[in-house]
């Protein structure tokens, strides 16, 4: 018979489990980001301006949206290096179609379909052919960008046909002073937090990332699950691609270059475990926020932006180091 107290302990342990979801790492990263914000608003008078905060909020949303997708892939034990190229491919598909006079919605659906196709190819090669995710998505990184170049003849596109203003408004506009991409991120992060915890799909992703063989033996459709995970990752890249096209007002074939690194960094800094089985949407968002705040601070403090890569690189290594430390402690 379980006493009320035992039950309460059980419950609290369960909510612990829920917040293990946003385990310590995400929490500390958030603190770090907030501290950085605080320091910046004290030492500069440019940080806490409405305009700058707006820019920070918008810029980080693009990375964070894809980082939520990346976290899903990483939680399942994989990796997706092709997201930066998927961004440019979707941006190119929507801009070429709109340039040729198609309405926004049709072009957007075509663009998202292109991104889903990229994810589908990735997923099938990884799940059914059994190729390593690193190799498959590295190949796709090259192939998808090349497809974008072919599609656009490597030209810049800045005229988007009859729905030109709509595209720019969706990607670059704001509602109640909050940039639109941030709303998209908010919805995505909340929905995925619920999905991770409360749906079979979400739980099975963590099962596959935790112990793929066990997942197979319990009859989870692991291959189908993996395909869906890569499709979801590509889908988030597609969303970001469309929003970025509208924000920039022009699309060139180097859009999203090296973005996969920032995105992976955001996910890992936010607590996604590259060995699989761990990661939260909230962590991905917080990780992306920290990266953007650092990038912004370098600019505001007049430090060469060439240092940015150094910071991100160090943060990835520190984040993984923290993870090691925690593992060592918990096995003691």
């Amino acid at each position: 018979m379980m006493t009320a107290i035992e039950h309460a302990i059980d419950q609290s342990q369960h909510s612990n489990l829920l917040s293990r979801a946003m385990n310590f790492q995400a929490f500390w990263v958030l603190i770090a980001a907030l501290l950085a914000c605080l320091t910046l608003s004290l030492v500069t008078d440019t940080f806490a301006t409405e305009r700058n905060l707006f820019n920070v909020a918008r810029n980080f949303a693009f990375v964070a949206v894809i980082a939520v997708g990346m976290t899903t892939v990483i939680a399942s034990g994989g990796i997706d290096l092709s997201v930066g190229s998927t961004v440019v491919l979707t941006a190119m598909v929507i801009s070429v179609m709109m340039y040729n006079g198609n309405p926004f919605w049709i072009s957007a659906i075509a663009a998202l379909s292109a991104s889903l196709l990229v994810g589908f190819i990735n997923g099938v090669l990884i799940a059914y052919v059994g190729m390593p995710p690193f190799v498959v998505t590295l190949g796709m990184l090259s192939a998808a960008r090349s497809a974008a170049m072919v599609l656009s003849d490597n030209k810049m596109i800045w005229e988007f046909g009859p729905d030109h203003d709509l595209l720019l408004a969706i990607g670059g506009g704001s509602i109640f002073g909050v940039p639109n991409p941030l709303y998209v991120l908010l919805v995505l992060a909340i929905v995925m937090t619920v999905v991770f915890k409360w749906t079979r799909w979400g739980q099975h992703i963590f099962a596959v990332g935790g112990n793929e063989q066990a997942a197979v033996m319990t009859g989870i459709p692991v291959n189908r699950l993996k395909v869906s995970v890569y499709m979801f990752s590509a889908f988030t890249a597609g969303i970001a691609g469309i929003l970025m096209a509208g924000w920039l007002g022009s699309v060139t074939t180097n859009l999203g270059q090296a973005m996969e690194l920032t995105v992976i960094a955001a996910a890992v800094i936010g607590g996604a475990n590259l060995a699989g089985g761990e990661g939260t949407p909230l962590g991905a968002v917080v990780g992306a926020l920290l990266i953007e705040v650092i990038r912004n601070s370098l600019i505001l403090l007049g430090i060469s932006s060439f240092w940015q890569g150094m910071f991100i690189g160090c943060f990835i290594i520190i984040a993984v180091g923290f993870d090691r430390l925690r593992k060592l402690k918990s096995t003691d």
Binding site: D10, L17, A214, A215, T218
Partner: protein, 246 residues
């Protein structure tokens, strides 16, 4: 009528004869200790009964009815479950999530089907209590002892209403205290009328729980007799071949 009857099972892997005409029976509420040297064919036998491999020849009967399965899921439908020592648990999930992995109960919430964690906790707490195990449903498997892990794995089979549970080396690589925990689990399953096939290299463990002891040597069954009519010395002789058959 026996719960499981293995009748003249042979299995070839190319030129390798892993099993040759193996026959035995297990009754409900009985523990069969299956022993043999490395490569004797124990795991192959388990995999055939569990539906991972099809036999090259011979038949399987569950509750007197001939079964012929092609996939592990077919065997599971007949009530045959396998407990693996480390393979089948996800360290990063809770005990309850592991017990229900792949068959999570769901409830309706605002038109969506969401996982019913309350039911999972309740049911797995019941199963752990049934096994008299100190396992808590919400603990992460990562933090559990070998015995608790075994309880989680066994609870999976209870949940599935298994009739036959096969355990391949459940006591390998766990501490002495945990071994007795696992042996207790096996006795509780037996008391509930399940048939258990226990594979182990550890003589004391097998003699502690097994009603019958079967010995495989190079794919042939060289003994199958009540444990109380045998001895560790005899079984050792049978395994090595010092004693031809018993």
């Amino acid at each position: 009528m026996s719960r499981l009857r293995v009748a003249g099972i042979s299995k070839n892997f190319g030129a390798i004869r892993a099993l040759e005409g193996v026959s035995f029976e297990v009754e409900p509420g009985q523990v069969l200790g299956l022993m043999g040297d490395n490569g004797a064919g124990k795991s192959t036998l388990v995999k055939i009964v569990a539906g991972n491999y099809r036999p090259s020849s011979g038949d399987l009967f569950v509750d007197g009815a001939k079964v012929d399965y092609h996939k592990p899921i077919d065997a599971q439908r007949e009530g045959v479950e396998v407990v693996y020592q480390d393979l089948a648990l996800c360290d990063n999930l809770s005990a309850a999530s592991n017990v229900f992995l792949g068959r999570e109960p769901r409830k309706n919430f605002a038109g969506f089907k969401i996982i019913d964690y309350a039911q999972m906790r309740k049911r797995s707490a019941e199963l752990f209590a049934q096994l008299k195990s100190e396992t808590r449903p919400c603990d992460l498997v990562r933090k559990m002892s070998g015995g608790q892990r075994q309880a989680v794995a066994i609870s999976r089979t209870l949940l599935a209403n298994a009739k036959i549970v096969m355990m391949d080396e459940p006591t390998a690589a766990i501490s002495v205290r945990q071994v007795s925990e696992v042996l207790d689990l096996i006795k509780r399953l037996r008391d509930q009328g399940l048939s258990i096939i226990l594979i182990s290299h550890r003589m004391p463990d097998v003699f502690a729980v097994a009603d019958n002891i079967a010995v495989l040597r190079r794919g042939r069954l060289v003994a199958n007799k009540p444990a109380n009519q045998s001895s560790p010395e005899e079984v050792t002789g049978l395994i090595t071949g010092a004693i031809q058959a018993a």
